[in-house]
């Protein structure tokens, strides 16, 4: 994936959306299109196929999305298809979201827990992290039973690990280090 190309498209699109105050709409449009590509294998095969001509792709895209997305999103999608950068649609969406968060002072966190967290816990966690970071927080919640218990928060490249598995992993690392020291 060429993130530089996606970043360039996303930057241009974000600047235009910001000027027209349709950032949220464009992001929703891009998310919907990316989700469709991700979930619908037939559409994915069609849109990513090198054997299908760009005119046909544009025609189908307009048929599918012209009355469902903003004009700016449609224009951007058309440009992407003309330039044969359809493989970058998901990356453009991700870069667009990243730009929106950067400009909106939004922290994106991924919260993974062994069991589904209750709403009050989610709210408490988001509020506490938002207060600590000094930003509004967008959280994505996942469930991973392999964590045994507890919760893990990823903020960019930083991970706050409060899981049982994480504690065990740290204990294991400490024990291994002690074993190496004994050797």
């Amino acid at each position: 994936m060429d993130t530089k190309v996606a970043r360039r498209y996303a930057s241009a699109l974000f600047a235009t959306a910001q000027r027209n105050d349709v950032v949220k709409s464009v992001e929703d449009d891009l998310s919907a299109i990316a989700k469709l590509i991700e979930n619908d294998q037939k559409f994915k095969d069609f849109i990513l196929s090198p054997e299908v001509g760009r005119e046909e792709k544009i025609k189908i895209a307009e048929t599918l999305f012209s009355d469902r997305v903003t004009a700016l999103t449609m224009q951007a999608l058309r440009l992407i298809l003309v330039k044969r950068r359809e493989a970058e649609i998901s990356n453009v969406r991700n870069e667009f979201v990243a730009l929106r968060r950067e400009h909106g002072s939004v922290a994106y966190i991924v919260v993974t827990s062994a069991e589904a967290m209750e709403d009050d816990q989610r709210n408490s966690l988001v509020a506490k992290l938002g207060g600590s970071l000094g930003k509004s927080v967008e959280a994505e919640f996942h469930i991973d039973p392999r964590l045994i218990g507890g919760v893990k928060v990823q903020i960019g490249d930083y991970v706050l690990d409060g899981t049982v598995r994480g504690s065990l992993r740290r204990l294991e690392e400490k024990l291994r280090r002690d074993v190496l020291m004994q050797n």
Binding site: E115, E118, K128, L129, G149, V164, L175, Q182
Partner: protein
């Protein structure tokens, strides 16, 4: 053979004349003193002076002949024999001297050879001892090195096995802990853990 005159000091013709005179005179005396001789014979002394003188004369006549044909060759033979014996004794003495010298030389050479052989043997023994010491030192050094290496390998292997054992113990401990914690974990405990995390979490700035 030498002439009789040279031996007696007088020329043989003189001696011959004296001999003839004595022989003739003795015979004459013997014929003229016949009675006196009988008186002496009667007294128990059968002595004929004339005959004795004649015999002396005959001996003087015959002595050079005897000397030439008997005494001289005999003396020569004796002398020759004496010389031969002396020569033989001299040669024997020379041989004995040579033998003594040869024996001395031989003994000296033998002693020198023995000394040299002894020296060489001693040198060989010393060299062998040095070689033995060197070989023993090398063997000892190699043995020490092998023992040291073996000990190091044993120690390394021991540490390796101990390390593997400890790592295995760690793995088993972690696995068992995971299983026990998983089996004992429930929603309430999980909720407490999450709450505790929320209460204590701090974001590094």
């Amino acid at each position: 053979m030498s002439t009789p005159t040279k031996k007696s000091g007088l020329p043989y013709p003189v001696v011959l004349i004296i001999g003839v005179i004595l022989m003739m005179g003795g015979y004459f005396i013997s014929q003229k003193t016949h009675e006196f001789q009988e008186k002496l014979a009667n007294q128990g002394i059968p002595l004929d002076f004339g005959l004795t003188i004649a015999v002396v004369g005959v001996l003087m006549i015959l002595f050079p002949v005897l000397n030439s044909f008997y005494f001289k060759p005999l003396a020569d033979a004796i002398n020759e024999r004496t010389h031969a014996l002396e020569s033989t004794f001299g040669e024997a003495e020379t041989l004995r001297s040579e033998m003594t010298k040869m024996k001395s030389d031989y003994e000296q050479r033998l002693a020198a050879t023995e000394a040299e052989a002894r020296s060489q043997i001693q040198a060989q023994i010393r060299e062998a001892q040095n070689l033995r010491q060197t070989l023993m030192a090398e063997a000892s050094s190699k043995a020490d090195e092998m023992v040291k290496r073996a000990q190091q390998e044993i120690e390394a292997e021991k540490q390796k096995v101990l390390g593997q054992l400890r790592r295995e113990v760690v793995n088993l401990t972690i696995t068992a802990s995971e299983r026990i914690l998983g089996e004992n974990m429930d929603s309430d405990k999980n909720r407490r853990l999450v709450t505790e995390f929320i209460d204590t979490v701090e974001v590094p700035r």
